[in-house]
């Protein structure tokens, strides 16, 4: 009848198993899947991220230079980050914070010229990623 007693005694000596979030937070694990961010100056507005996205949360308009991401539709799979040829998309390690209204992220970049220029080199601190 007292089968759980040893476990209970151990737990009394070990302390609580929970942390007092949000006063105490845990360091995220490296490469955990969090928010998407786009360095719009590097973005070539090719639209490949929008085409690969399984949740259809990205909109790219090359003519006007607008890049829109809906963090409430996004499933944070990271496929867009892997696909981006300009290395402008990155995934943070912390997730989207709770919000009181549904906002999308709208960035304004250079409208795409016909013919395009040379693709910028990846920044020196870009993480090594698997290419599709």
């Amino acid at each position: 009848m007292f089968e759980l007693a040893p476990v209970i005694l151990r737990n009394l000596l070990r302390g609580p198993a929970t942390r007092r979030y949000p006063l105490v937070t845990r360091e995220p694990f490296p490469r955990a899947r969090g928010e998407i961010e786009n360095e719009i100056s590097r973005c070539t507005l090719c639209g490949l991220c929008a085409r690969r996205c399984p949740a259809r949360c990205l909109e790219v308009e090359p003519q006007s230079g607008r890049w829109r991401w809906d963090p409430f539709v996004c499933v944070y799979c990271g496929v867009c980050v892997e696909t981006c040829p300009a290395h402008s998309l990155r995934q943070k390690e912390t997730g989207r914070r709770p919000a009181t209204s549904r906002e999308t992220v709208l960035l304004q970049g250079e409208p795409r010229r016909r013919g395009g220029g040379a693709r910028p080199a990846p920044p020196p601190d870009a993480p090594a990623r698997e290419r599709p």
């Binding site: 085409r51 259809r56 308009e61 090359p62």
Partner: protein, 139 residues
């Protein structure tokens, strides 16, 4: 998969299934898929000792298919699902929800049949090669 599949007709369905049960096969599931505007394809899957066997039958969408739930009671649930999603009628179901297992009255019927739907969007949306993609327009 092809080597383990046999084509049968609706008339021989119950006899084939009863024979498989007598030989010790377990009913796994029934798959329905659309062949064209008038026909569906029914695939019955069976298992014995980790090997699979399949029976294939092409039926008209308006046909009445004999239910195998008197032989395998487990088939009643999946035949109800096919009734709901493809609009195919089964006769002799031991447990019949008459098209209300998943769907409500106002659901578009039948949901999984592509051809024959009114105002069908042409199949050519997302994933097109034009820059910008369709994800701008249809969100």
């Amino acid at each position: 998969m092809q080597e383990a599949t046999r084509a049968i007709t609706l008339e021989s369905l119950l006899a084939e299934v009863a024979r498989l049960k007598a030989e010790g096969w377990r009913f796994v599931t029934l798959t329905a898929s659309e062949l064209d505007a008038e026909r569906l394809e029914l695939l019955y899957h069976f298992d014995r000792e980790l090997r699979l066997q399949h029976l294939r039958a092409a039926v008209a969408k308006t046909a009445e298919v004999p239910s195998i739930s008197p032989v395998f009671f487990a088939a009643a649930l999946v035949e109800n699902e096919v009734q709901d999603l493809f609009g195919l009628r089964f006769t002799g179901l031991l447990l019949d929800f008459r098209g209300r297992l998943y769907l409500e009255e106002e659901s578009p019927m039948p949901p999984f049949c592509r051809r024959g739907r009114e105002a069908e969007a042409p199949r050519g949306g997302g994933g097109s090669e034009a820059p910008g993609g369709e994800s701008c327009a249809t969100r």
